[in-house]
Symmetry: C2
Subunit: 107 residues, 2 copies
């Protein structure tokens, strides 16, 4: 799973985080992240190749958005280990319910 490799870079995770609330142009991302435009474009290419983002041309801009598919696969990978910290599937669901009011609680 190259998803891990791609997400290993902190700035790429920042880029994803900046996209979680909706599509953004490259220059918006440059402003949000505080890196040079070429570096941002380079990271965006890597995110693209990993299928983690999706591009929509909009005139001379490119609107990037999160493509959640690889993240879903990451979630599936995690499934193997969930019972190790949640004990039971039920406990996980309880945890998810608590996540509705976003508190940093650990069972």
């Amino acid at each position: 799973m190259s998803t891990f490799n791609t997400l290993a870079e902190p700035n790429r995770r920042k880029l994803l985080d900046a996209l979680v609330d909706g599509p953004q142009s490259v220059s918006a991302l440059v402003g949000a992240i505080g890196m040079s435009q070429p570096v941002v474009s380079k990271h965006l290419k890597i995110l693209r190749d990993a299928g983690l983002v999706h591009v929509t041309p909009d005139g001379q801009r490119r609107l990037y958005s999160v493509n959640p598919e690889p993240l879903s696969e990451l979630d599936d990978w995690l499934a193997k280990y969930r019972e190790l910290w949640a004990g039971r599937l039920d406990a996980l669901e309880a945890h998810l319910h608590n996540a509705e009011d976003h508190q940093g609680d650990r069972p």
Copy 2:
């Protein structure tokens, strides 16, 4: 989160996978993974430093086991993105229920 960095290496994920069903000695892991002992020990050290495994001395052996705490944090990180592919929290719970009979179904 250095967890991503640590898990970016495929052989380290193999090591974790080999530990999911219970503790294993280094030599058992060497046999399971098919890498040289020094390389396995090196990867185990990285997994240890990332807090992903735990060691219990057992005579001249070391028994390694998964420490799920960082994986739980990874799960929390994923939470931000879940609704992007699950749409609703309820949909996620349904997915988890389906995971009880381990099928590779995607909604």
